[in-house]
Chain length 251, copies 2
């Protein structure tokens, strides 16, 4: 059995806590948070410790706090030589205080407190300073998810940037689409099947194969009429640059 | 029973033909195409007529050809006073030759010959010059799909622009994400659960609520480090403009 302690109470921490609770072979040893009430939907508040002084022995400590708090929290831990990992895509492993053995346990997914996630489908990107610790992280990851990747800090950085495009920017395209509908009193619902199918397509096709639309067809007549239609400067600028980018990539 | 004739052999025509074949209360009267061999997977080539002279009486003629051929095809039809519709999002109803009764039957979806579509889930956007013809289109649409919208030419134009954002540009974000992964020898597969979840989220949340990432958080440290990481000018320009656009919308 592997004893795991989670530090944090945000989106990643709470999804992780739920997943660990249901995983076989993993014991949720402790949860530490300075704001225990934000976990009240998934744990008894009395079970949550609020001070590092109360942390007991565990095989793995997972620091799932905001990126800029990781360094400080890892420095505050009152023990040495134990395995401490963070869950951040954007942060190098080396930011963790070197008094402990270091690693990374990065779940590549977009988490909202409002939505349940099937954690088994979440790709887990692992890194560790030494091989024995990597094996421990693998054991934990294997109990939580079907997909595990050995990812260096440099690769994780690129993944984090790629995720901004594939998730944050893609979602922003939904926002701009919904605003355009809104202006003509059309419900956003009308776009939903299109959005779902666009995402479903790239399960089978590469996104390059799946690309459709006036940009990739070099349909200048439609592009001009769309730009003429868009009065808002921001929408116009985005439409222009992304059409240019599509033609730059596809030729 | 409603007799429907389809003219065309592209993506929209072939998905429409399949859907009509399985619909109750609708008879696929004829299919006309100048390139019948491109429909050989779904019809006997001998059943496809290749000349407008061979077109028989039907209740509705659906012209599902490329946008710039609609006008010409509608003018070539050797009859008058019948109901003729096109399937284009970008084209006004008025482009159809006025010798026939005119309408639009626009399926708002991204079609690829390689992928099957559940046509019942495709929003159908209808327009007709007169109320009786609108009822006929509703009857056809109701047999093919669960979702029907009465959409004017002006609204359809805005929908088409919105679809470029929500579909074509969103897919391009997947492409750019996959290129970034590629550069670090990471498989595109690693992004797929994220892409699916990003799309699934907006079934329940508005895209404004669903927005995450360094842009909406005004996390300048991460934004700078991502821009520093991106060496390619095109990727850098897209990252900058879309971060700016997110902050413009979300404040």
């Amino acid at each position: 059995m592997l004893n795991v302690t989670v530090i944090g109470s945000g989106n990643v921490a709470s999804h992780l806590i739920k997943a660990i609770t249901f995983a076989r072979g993993i014991i949720l040893k402790q949860v530490m948070s300075r704001r225990p009430e934000s976990l009240k939907d998934i744990l008894n508040i009395s079970d949550i410790v609020t001070s590092v002084a109360d942390l007991k022995d565990a095989d793995i400590y997972i620091i799932a706090v905001s990126d800029n708090a990781i360094e400080e929290v890892s420095a505050l831990l009152p023990f040495t030589g134990r395995l401490v990992v963070h869950t951040s895509g954007a942060t190098p492993m080396q930011i963790l205080n070197r008094k402990n053995r270091r690693g990374v346990f990065y779940p590549l997914q977009t988490f909202s407190k409002l939505r349940n996630i099937d954690f088994l489908q979440v790709p887990l990107c692992l890194e560790a300073e030494n091989a024995e610790d990597y094996v421990l992280l693998q054991q934990l990851a294997g109990a939580l998810s079907h997909t595990i990747h050995n990812v260096t800090s440099q690769q994780r950085k690129s993944l984090h940037v790629a995720a901004v495009f594939a998730c944050n920017f893609a979602n922003h395209m939904y926002t701009l689409g919904s605003m355009i509908c809104n202006d003509e009193n059309l419900p956003f619902d009308i776009l939903k099947p299109l959005i779902q199918e666009t995402a479903a397509k790239v399960k089978e096709l590469t996104p390059v194969q799946a690309q459709t639309g006036p940009g990739v067809r070099h349909d200048d007549k439609t592009i001009s009429s769309h730009l003429y239609y868009l009065e808002d400067d921001n929408l116009k600028a985005v439409y222009k640059l992304l059409t240019q980018s599509i033609q730059h990539i596809h030729g």
